[in-house]
Symmetry: C2
Subunit: 113 residues, 2 copies
DNA sequence: GTGATACTTAGCCTTATGGAACAGTATCAA
DNA sequence: TTGATACTGTTCCATAAGGCTAAGTATCAC
Protein backbone atom coordinates (compact mmCIF):
# COMPACT_ATOMS: atom_id res chain seq x y z
CA UNK A 1 0.00 0.00 0.00
CA UNK A 2 2.91 2.30 0.79
CA UNK A 3 3.82 2.61 -2.86
CA UNK A 4 0.47 4.32 -3.38
CA UNK A 5 1.11 7.05 -0.81
CA UNK A 6 3.29 8.97 -3.25
CA UNK A 7 0.72 8.52 -5.99
CA UNK A 8 -2.08 10.32 -4.19
CA UNK A 9 -2.15 13.06 -6.85
CA UNK A 10 -3.28 10.60 -9.49
CA UNK A 11 -5.53 8.63 -7.17
CA UNK A 12 -7.48 11.73 -6.13
CA UNK A 13 -7.43 13.15 -9.65
CA UNK A 14 -9.10 9.97 -10.88
CA UNK A 15 -11.85 10.35 -8.27
CA UNK A 16 -12.59 13.92 -9.38
CA UNK A 17 -14.73 12.75 -12.30
CA UNK A 18 -18.23 11.27 -11.86
CA UNK A 19 -17.79 8.84 -14.76
CA UNK A 20 -14.68 7.38 -13.18
CA UNK A 21 -16.26 7.20 -9.72
CA UNK A 22 -19.19 5.33 -11.27
CA UNK A 23 -16.82 2.91 -12.98
CA UNK A 24 -15.08 2.24 -9.68
CA UNK A 25 -18.49 1.70 -8.10
CA UNK A 26 -19.47 -0.78 -10.80
CA UNK A 27 -16.17 -2.65 -10.58
CA UNK A 28 -16.68 -3.02 -6.84
CA UNK A 29 -19.32 -5.57 -7.76
CA UNK A 30 -16.93 -7.52 -9.97
CA UNK A 31 -14.87 -7.36 -13.20
CA UNK A 32 -16.41 -6.19 -16.46
CA UNK A 33 -15.47 -5.56 -20.08
CA UNK A 34 -14.90 -2.11 -21.55
CA UNK A 35 -18.12 -1.96 -23.56
CA UNK A 36 -20.11 -3.34 -20.64
CA UNK A 37 -18.72 -0.57 -18.46
CA UNK A 38 -19.24 2.09 -21.12
CA UNK A 39 -22.89 1.26 -21.85
CA UNK A 40 -24.52 3.40 -19.11
CA UNK A 41 -22.65 6.55 -20.20
CA UNK A 42 -23.70 8.66 -23.13
CA UNK A 43 -20.21 9.31 -24.42
CA UNK A 44 -18.20 7.92 -27.29
CA UNK A 45 -16.06 4.85 -26.76
CA UNK A 46 -12.75 6.67 -27.37
CA UNK A 47 -13.73 9.25 -24.75
CA UNK A 48 -14.67 6.50 -22.34
CA UNK A 49 -11.36 4.74 -22.99
CA UNK A 50 -9.55 7.84 -21.74
CA UNK A 51 -11.24 7.37 -18.38
CA UNK A 52 -10.23 3.72 -18.34
CA UNK A 53 -6.63 4.67 -19.11
CA UNK A 54 -6.55 7.27 -16.37
CA UNK A 55 -7.97 4.73 -13.90
CA UNK A 56 -5.35 2.20 -14.94
CA UNK A 57 -2.43 4.64 -14.91
CA UNK A 58 -3.40 6.01 -11.51
CA UNK A 59 -3.56 2.45 -10.20
CA UNK A 60 -7.26 2.12 -9.43
CA UNK A 61 -7.81 -0.76 -11.86
CA UNK A 62 -5.91 -3.40 -13.80
CA UNK A 63 -6.99 -4.64 -17.21
CA UNK A 64 -6.32 -7.72 -19.28
CA UNK A 65 -7.13 -8.39 -22.89
CA UNK A 66 -8.25 -11.81 -24.02
CA UNK A 67 -9.22 -12.10 -27.66
CA UNK A 68 -10.95 -8.87 -28.57
CA UNK A 69 -12.35 -8.25 -25.08
CA UNK A 70 -10.52 -6.25 -22.44
CA UNK A 71 -11.64 -7.04 -18.91
CA UNK A 72 -11.22 -4.51 -16.09
CA UNK A 73 -10.96 -5.26 -12.39
CA UNK A 74 -10.63 -3.08 -9.33
CA UNK A 75 -7.39 -2.96 -7.35
CA UNK A 76 -7.73 -3.07 -3.59
CA UNK A 77 -4.67 -1.12 -2.42
CA UNK A 78 -5.61 2.39 -3.63
CA UNK A 79 -8.75 2.41 -1.52
CA UNK A 80 -6.65 1.67 1.55
CA UNK A 81 -4.06 4.31 0.61
CA UNK A 82 -6.67 7.01 0.18
CA UNK A 83 -8.55 6.07 3.32
CA UNK A 84 -5.30 6.09 5.23
CA UNK A 85 -4.52 9.66 4.18
CA UNK A 86 -8.00 10.79 5.17
CA UNK A 87 -7.79 9.05 8.52
CA UNK A 88 -4.54 10.86 9.23
CA UNK A 89 -6.28 14.17 8.54
CA UNK A 90 -9.16 13.18 10.76
CA UNK A 91 -6.71 12.28 13.54
CA UNK A 92 -5.01 15.66 13.22
CA UNK A 93 -8.34 17.43 13.37
CA UNK A 94 -9.54 15.46 16.36
CA UNK A 95 -6.25 15.77 18.17
CA UNK A 96 -6.59 19.52 17.83
CA UNK A 97 -10.18 19.74 19.01
CA UNK A 98 -9.26 17.56 21.98
CA UNK A 99 -6.43 19.91 22.90
CA UNK A 100 -8.81 22.83 22.50
CA UNK A 101 -11.26 21.22 24.88
CA UNK A 102 -8.53 20.63 27.41
CA UNK A 103 -7.44 24.25 27.06
CA UNK A 104 -10.96 25.55 27.59
CA UNK A 105 -11.41 23.25 30.60
CA UNK A 106 -8.11 24.37 32.09
CA UNK A 107 -9.05 28.04 31.60
CA UNK A 108 -12.34 27.37 33.34
CA UNK A 109 -10.50 25.98 36.33
CA UNK A 110 -8.09 28.90 36.46
CA UNK A 111 -10.90 31.43 36.44
CA UNK A 112 -13.90 29.76 38.14
CA UNK A 113 -17.17 31.68 38.41
CA UNK B 1 -22.86 16.57 5.23
CA UNK B 2 -25.33 15.43 2.58
CA UNK B 3 -24.96 18.68 0.67
CA UNK B 4 -21.34 17.71 0.08
CA UNK B 5 -22.20 14.38 -1.56
CA UNK B 6 -23.06 16.11 -4.83
CA UNK B 7 -19.90 18.18 -4.64
CA UNK B 8 -17.51 15.24 -4.64
CA UNK B 9 -16.04 16.36 -7.98
CA UNK B 10 -14.66 19.52 -6.45
CA UNK B 11 -13.70 17.91 -3.16
CA UNK B 12 -11.59 15.24 -4.86
CA UNK B 13 -10.24 17.69 -7.41
CA UNK B 14 -8.95 19.82 -4.56
CA UNK B 15 -7.15 16.82 -3.07
CA UNK B 16 -5.39 16.08 -6.35
CA UNK B 17 -2.72 18.72 -5.74
CA UNK B 18 0.07 18.25 -3.16
CA UNK B 19 0.11 21.94 -2.23
CA UNK B 20 -3.58 21.84 -1.36
CA UNK B 21 -3.26 18.57 0.55
CA UNK B 22 -0.43 20.14 2.56
CA UNK B 23 -2.57 23.19 3.31
CA UNK B 24 -5.38 20.95 4.54
CA UNK B 25 -2.83 19.11 6.67
CA UNK B 26 -1.55 22.34 8.17
CA UNK B 27 -5.05 23.65 8.85
CA UNK B 28 -5.86 20.44 10.68
CA UNK B 29 -3.65 21.80 13.43
CA UNK B 30 -5.54 25.09 13.57
CA UNK B 31 -6.38 28.27 11.61
CA UNK B 32 -3.67 30.28 9.88
CA UNK B 33 -3.25 33.36 7.72
CA UNK B 34 -2.61 33.27 3.98
CA UNK B 35 1.03 34.29 4.14
CA UNK B 36 1.68 31.93 7.05
CA UNK B 37 0.24 29.09 4.94
CA UNK B 38 2.11 30.16 1.82
CA UNK B 39 5.56 30.42 3.45
CA UNK B 40 6.63 26.74 3.07
CA UNK B 41 5.89 26.70 -0.66
CA UNK B 42 8.21 28.16 -3.25
CA UNK B 43 5.51 29.70 -5.39
CA UNK B 44 4.30 33.26 -5.87
CA UNK B 45 1.52 34.55 -3.66
CA UNK B 46 -0.97 35.03 -6.52
CA UNK B 47 -0.38 31.40 -7.55
CA UNK B 48 -0.82 30.27 -3.96
CA UNK B 49 -4.04 32.27 -3.71
CA UNK B 50 -5.48 30.18 -6.51
CA UNK B 51 -5.09 27.11 -4.33
CA UNK B 52 -6.79 28.89 -1.46
CA UNK B 53 -9.68 29.87 -3.71
CA UNK B 54 -10.09 26.36 -5.01
CA UNK B 55 -10.09 25.03 -1.44
CA UNK B 56 -12.69 27.58 -0.44
CA UNK B 57 -14.91 27.07 -3.49
CA UNK B 58 -14.83 23.31 -3.14
CA UNK B 59 -15.82 23.69 0.50
CA UNK B 60 -12.72 22.40 2.26
CA UNK B 61 -12.00 25.67 4.07
CA UNK B 62 -13.68 28.92 5.06
CA UNK B 63 -11.84 32.24 5.25
CA UNK B 64 -12.41 35.53 7.00
CA UNK B 65 -10.62 38.81 6.56
CA UNK B 66 -9.91 41.06 9.52
CA UNK B 67 -7.86 44.14 8.79
CA UNK B 68 -5.34 43.17 6.15
CA UNK B 69 -5.05 39.56 7.30
CA UNK B 70 -7.20 36.75 5.91
CA UNK B 71 -7.47 33.78 8.23
CA UNK B 72 -8.25 30.31 6.89
CA UNK B 73 -9.83 27.46 8.82
CA UNK B 74 -10.67 23.88 7.91
CA UNK B 75 -14.28 22.77 7.50
CA UNK B 76 -15.19 19.46 9.06
CA UNK B 77 -18.00 18.23 6.81
CA UNK B 78 -16.03 17.54 3.61
CA UNK B 79 -13.79 15.05 5.36
CA UNK B 80 -16.87 13.12 6.47
CA UNK B 81 -18.44 13.30 3.00
CA UNK B 82 -15.34 11.96 1.30
CA UNK B 83 -14.78 9.24 3.89
CA UNK B 84 -18.39 8.23 3.53
CA UNK B 85 -18.06 7.73 -0.23
CA UNK B 86 -14.92 5.65 0.25
CA UNK B 87 -16.54 3.54 2.94
CA UNK B 88 -19.40 2.79 0.60
CA UNK B 89 -16.90 1.57 -2.01
CA UNK B 90 -15.14 -0.51 0.58
CA UNK B 91 -18.47 -2.04 1.61
CA UNK B 92 -19.26 -2.91 -2.01
CA UNK B 93 -15.88 -4.50 -2.43
CA UNK B 94 -16.11 -6.48 0.77
CA UNK B 95 -19.68 -7.53 0.11
CA UNK B 96 -18.49 -8.95 -3.16
CA UNK B 97 -15.47 -10.78 -1.78
CA UNK B 98 -17.71 -12.21 0.92
CA UNK B 99 -20.15 -13.49 -1.69
CA UNK B 100 -17.21 -14.92 -3.61
CA UNK B 101 -16.03 -16.76 -0.51
CA UNK B 102 -19.49 -18.15 0.08
CA UNK B 103 -19.64 -19.26 -3.53
CA UNK B 104 -16.29 -20.99 -3.33
CA UNK B 105 -17.28 -22.63 -0.04
CA UNK B 106 -20.60 -23.77 -1.48
CA UNK B 107 -18.82 -25.19 -4.53
CA UNK B 108 -16.46 -27.02 -2.24
CA UNK B 109 -19.39 -28.59 -0.40
CA UNK B 110 -21.11 -29.58 -3.63
CA UNK B 111 -17.97 -31.27 -4.90
CA UNK B 112 -16.09 -32.53 -1.83
CA UNK B 113 -12.76 -34.30 -2.29
C1' DG C 1 -12.98 -15.24 -46.57
C1' DT C 2 -16.48 -11.89 -45.05
C1' DG C 3 -19.05 -9.32 -41.98
C1' DA C 4 -19.80 -7.98 -37.40
C1' DT C 5 -17.79 -6.97 -32.95
C1' DA C 6 -14.62 -4.84 -29.69
C1' DC C 7 -11.64 -2.08 -29.09
C1' DT C 8 -7.62 1.31 -30.53
C1' DT C 9 -5.16 5.17 -32.68
C1' DA C 10 -4.91 9.70 -34.36
C1' DG C 11 -6.18 14.23 -34.65
C1' DC C 12 -9.01 18.23 -33.42
C1' DC C 13 -11.48 21.43 -30.32
C1' DT C 14 -12.59 23.96 -26.04
C1' DT C 15 -11.99 24.76 -21.33
C1' DA C 16 -9.53 24.25 -17.01
C1' DT C 17 -5.24 24.15 -14.32
C1' DG C 18 -1.10 25.74 -12.23
C1' DG C 19 2.49 28.56 -12.74
C1' DA C 20 4.46 33.47 -13.69
C1' DA C 21 4.95 38.81 -13.54
C1' DC C 22 3.32 43.28 -12.49
C1' DA C 23 0.51 46.70 -10.59
C1' DG C 24 -3.00 48.01 -7.25
C1' DT C 25 -5.58 48.54 -2.68
C1' DA C 26 -6.14 48.53 2.17
C1' DT C 27 -4.32 48.43 6.76
C1' DC C 28 -1.05 48.99 10.42
C1' DA C 29 3.04 51.10 12.87
C1' DA C 30 5.89 54.81 13.69
C1' DT D 1 1.78 60.93 6.54
C1' DT D 2 4.67 57.71 5.10
C1' DG D 3 6.58 53.25 4.56
C1' DA D 4 5.98 48.48 5.12
C1' DT D 5 2.87 44.61 5.14
C1' DA D 6 -0.72 41.56 3.39
C1' DC D 7 -3.14 40.55 0.25
C1' DT D 8 -5.81 41.21 -4.51
C1' DG D 9 -6.66 41.87 -9.45
C1' DT D 10 -5.20 41.36 -14.09
C1' DT D 11 -3.03 39.34 -17.74
C1' DC D 12 -0.19 35.96 -19.80
C1' DC D 13 1.63 31.29 -20.76
C1' DA D 14 2.08 26.16 -21.35
C1' DT D 15 0.07 21.97 -20.50
C1' DA D 16 -3.60 18.76 -19.40
C1' DA D 17 -8.49 17.28 -19.34
C1' DG D 18 -12.50 15.68 -21.50
C1' DG D 19 -15.29 15.66 -25.29
C1' DC D 20 -15.77 14.61 -30.54
C1' DT D 21 -15.17 12.12 -35.41
C1' DA D 22 -12.96 9.19 -38.58
C1' DA D 23 -10.29 5.51 -39.63
C1' DG D 24 -7.61 1.37 -38.29
C1' DT D 25 -6.64 -3.41 -36.25
C1' DA D 26 -7.70 -7.77 -34.39
C1' DT D 27 -11.03 -11.51 -33.25
C1' DC D 28 -14.90 -14.21 -33.70
C1' DA D 29 -18.90 -16.45 -36.05
C1' DC D 30 -20.49 -18.14 -40.12
Amino acid sequence: MEQYQDRLDGLFQALADPTRRAVIGRLGEGPASISELARPFGISLPSFMKHIHSLEESGWIRTRKQGRVRTCALEEAPLAAVQSWLSAQRALWEGRTNRLEQFVTAQGQEHPE
